[in-house]
């Protein structure tokens, strides 16, 4: 290929990278800008401030706690449930693996607004009267987090050679010991990834929460929406909204860093090829 053609390839690369980069970076940059400037629209000219960042936890304190609580419980439940189901399906512990698979994935195909409505209708009467309680919110978040968590867990387990459980049992380990000592170290990075997906899915969700969250248990997305749209007229709400997002992002990034540090090296290193 001629040098001329190469130059075109480089140019194309630069254009694609630059374009994508701009699309991602621009909103993030504006987010940061908004959280530390005095006033929406004036940029740095209006003066810098930490007012919003300090105010965010105060105004959004309750909903931040709610969100983190719901996301944590959702994450833990998703992790446990997807690990159990994926292991069961892979080792053929129960019949109808395909049905289980379809059931877990189903919520992905339903509009969350409709899903919320269905949940309300299903759980507004005894024996399971969950409507208006935080339990329904947890059930809903679990339903939308499971497809991602389960898929990731299944893929991780599939890559890990379940046959090793037999090898360990043959050596005298119970099935639980075999899974804990042989499979778990092999799949833990994958499980962490699966958990994070579940956590973020819950943390981000607006539409389902909008339908089923109890009045007194607002999550961050719900309160943000109210702040930014319901009480228009004051620009400061934008800045506060941006600051809240920034605070959440910081929390997420440090959580991510923490698990990375805790789980140590990459699991690719241990996969036998």
């Amino acid at each position: 290929m001629s040098a001329r053609r190469w130059r075109w390839v480089y140019l194309l690369d630069a254009a694609v990278l630059g374009g994508l980069g701009f699309l991602v970076v621009a909103p993030l940059a504006i987010l940061v800008l908004l959280s530390v400037t005095q006033e929406w629209g004036t940029g740095f000219r209006g003066g810098l401030t930490v007012q919003w960042l300090l105010e965010a936890p105060r105004v959004f304190g309750a909903s931040i706690l709610h969100s983190l609580a719901v996301a944590s419980v959702t994450m833990a439940a998703t992790l446990l449930l997807s690990a159990l189901v994926a292991y069961g399906v892979l080792t053929r512990k129960f019949r109808g693996g395909i049905v289980v698979d379809a059931l877990v994935m189903a919520p992905l195909t339903i509009s969350y607004i409709v899903l919320g409505l269905a949940l309300i209708l299903a759980f507004k009467e005894p024996p399971l009267r969950l409507h208006g309680t935080v339990w329904l919110l947890l059930v809903g978040h679990l339903m939308i987090a499971m497809p991602l968590g389960y898929r990731t867990t299944l893929a991780t387990l599939e890559a890990a050679d379940i046959g090793l459980v037999e090898a360990a049992r043959g050596l005298g380990a119970s099935e639980w010991t075999a899974v804990r000592r042989v499979i778990l170290p092999l799949v833990s990075p994958g499980l962490v990834a699966s958990s994070l997906l579940a956590f973020v899915t819950s943390l981000q969700n607006y539409s389902l929460s909008f339908m089923i969250a109890p009045e007194r248990y607002k999550t961050v997305p719900l309160q943000l929406f109210e702040y930014i749209f319901a009480e228009t007229g004051s620009y400061s709400n934008y800045n506060l909204g941006a600051a809240v997002s920034l605070v959440l992002m910081a929390v997420l990034l440090s959580a991510l860093g923490l698990v990375r540090w805790l789980t140590g090296q990459s699991w690719h290193e241990n996969l036998n090829v």
């Binding site: 049992r169 050596l171 119970s174 241990n270 996969l271």
Partner: protein, 361 residues
Amino acid sequence: MEGYLVVRKLRKAFGPVVALAGVSFSVERGEFFTLLGPSGCGKTTLLRCLAGFERAEAGEILIDGRDVRDDEPEKRDIGFVFQRYALFPTMTVAENVAFGLEVRKRPGPEIDQRVQEVLRLVGLQGLDDRKPRQLSGGQQQRVALARALVIRPRILLLDEPLSNLDAKLRVEMRMEIRRLQKDLGITAVYVTHDQEESFALSDRVLVMSQGEAQQVGTPQELYFAPRNQFVAGFIGQTNFLGGRCVERAGGWIVVDCLGARVRLPTERDVSPGAAVAFTVRPEHVRLERVSRGENSIRAVVRQVQFLGPTIGYYAQTGSVMLLGEVHGVTRDEVEKLPRQGEEVWCAFDPEDCVVMGTEAR
């Protein structure tokens, strides 16, 4: 039969596929016993039933007189060496080997000592801290062996452990496995599809085909007295021939085969005119330039294969291709052997023929 391991009428099917159709055998304490058969005949399934990874639908498995069919794998005290090793990838060599002792809650110093001992035994000392992926295939095989041996299992099961190694290493490793088994007095059940390997290793061999036991015996018994066509064909190569009985006298019959009178040893009651099937191995077929009367079949040499220690012949008579082999010929003798296109007599001794079947009256 009251062996250390007794298997009676074991049956296992996967949906419509019958993997084991009622297999029975018995293994003595300290014996090296091999399941030999073509791929897909149910060898792995049988081993997995013994280890408890698979549940048989019917039949019994007795170890030391006790039925173990309802025991979980971890309760059976059986060592298993997998075809693909199945080493624990996150653990080092030493940790892999120590695993079986740790789950048995042995004290630390004892574990260390026994791990070192068995690593020395299989020739892996100094590799304690390697991860499985840093080892060669042969070394991984040794770790798998050490891991199974260290728990001093009642029975050691090995599923084609050498099939992933190259030919030379395979021969080396099988000597080593046999040595270890003898030194440690292990009761071993070994699986292979390689007849030579099974003979080199085993006290006794069970030949399997399509989920059924065909014959059990020492290598010599299987070689010299195969019970049916399948065994005769699977153990080395052989010529399948047949003819009509023309004469019968105590312990012998004479059949008319491919235009020759062939004398065969048999105790069966064969009436004149009945069809008789028999086999004779290529290594017992000599190519001669003159007929010796009985047991000489006239044929034309179609192909000569010089293989070094042996020379193989394909000689044709009518639609039948006879296999012959000559062993240990010197350089001078090679020159004088029959060539392609030459007419020869394929001769064999009556004692080397095995009657497989006779027509019932």
